[in-house]
Symmetry: C2
Subunit: 157 residues, 2 copies
């Protein structure tokens, strides 16, 4: 199925942010390293996501982007609408006798919309391999119990 790579970038970015343990911000650089895409372009997409309230930007050192709300509350439809925005010009109604075809078209549109609204980021994260990965990340993060070497470890990883 064809979905624009724009949408793919946006969704994959949201996934990366969603999977960040303790929702520590990810920088633009962090995000672009995983997808092969220019950082300036991703920046524009992140701007759209921010304007739609899906992510928040945190400036300054240690900053980056963080997911804005619960991953269960963000649907694929939300993400697509955020990055496609101006593209939603509806065709003018009442052009001759095409109302029937038009109605059928809108019927379909709504079905698709509804379908995509029901798939949340959390749903996509609900896979065995993903859960395993998240588990490992958390293990790795929770290791420093001896409170003597906290940052040194992280640097080597």
């Amino acid at each position: 199925m064809k979905i624009s790579s724009k949408a793919r970038y946006a969704i994959q970015s949201m996934l990366q942010l969603a999977m960040q343990v303790d929702s520590k911000p990810l920088t633009l650089a962090d995000l672009t390293q995983q997808q092969n895409i220019s950082s300036s372009y991703l920046e524009q997409l992140l701007a759209s996501l921010r304007e739609s309230g899906l992510v928040v930007g945190v400036r300054g050192p240690g900053g980056g982007y963080r997911i804005a709300t619960d991953v269960a509350d963000i649907s694929i439809a939300d993400i697509l609408m955020a990055v496609h925005e101006r593209h939603l010009k509806r065709p003018k109604k009442s052009s001759y006798g095409m109302s029937i075809y038009n109605d059928m078209w809108w019927d379909l549109s709504e079905r698709i919309q509804e379908f995509l609204s029901q798939i949340s980021i959390a749903d996509l994260m609900d896979r065995e391999d993903v859960q395993l990965y998240l588990h490992q990340q958390r293990l790795f993060k929770d290791v420093p119990l001896s409170d003597s070497q906290t940052d040194i470890q992280r640097k080597r990883a």
Copy 2:
């Protein structure tokens, strides 16, 4: 939900063809009259649909385009694939450690694909208003019982 107008044209054309009683061919002119679009452009889309085996072209007077198979066997996914074809370049796998995000992405793609495969043209036609319209069309077609004025009537419609 944003779907390209290209897709909309294609789907609406298929709907028009599907709703043709006794599947009498519709000419390019017939099709473009309903949607406000240039005939030459629709021509290209119809060419894609023909190459994908969804419609057949009939040349000569009285010709046009006709739907190729049972409306229950043609899905929205079929139509979208027909007109978007070259656009399906999959991202090269194995780019560093993005396999997890990639997998989640493909998971989603397949879900959408499957969803759209399950919606057939026939499904879209299964609405009260559409059925009523079809019924009226058939009534109008079946009127000439007196076999004396067959073509004259049609011309006035």
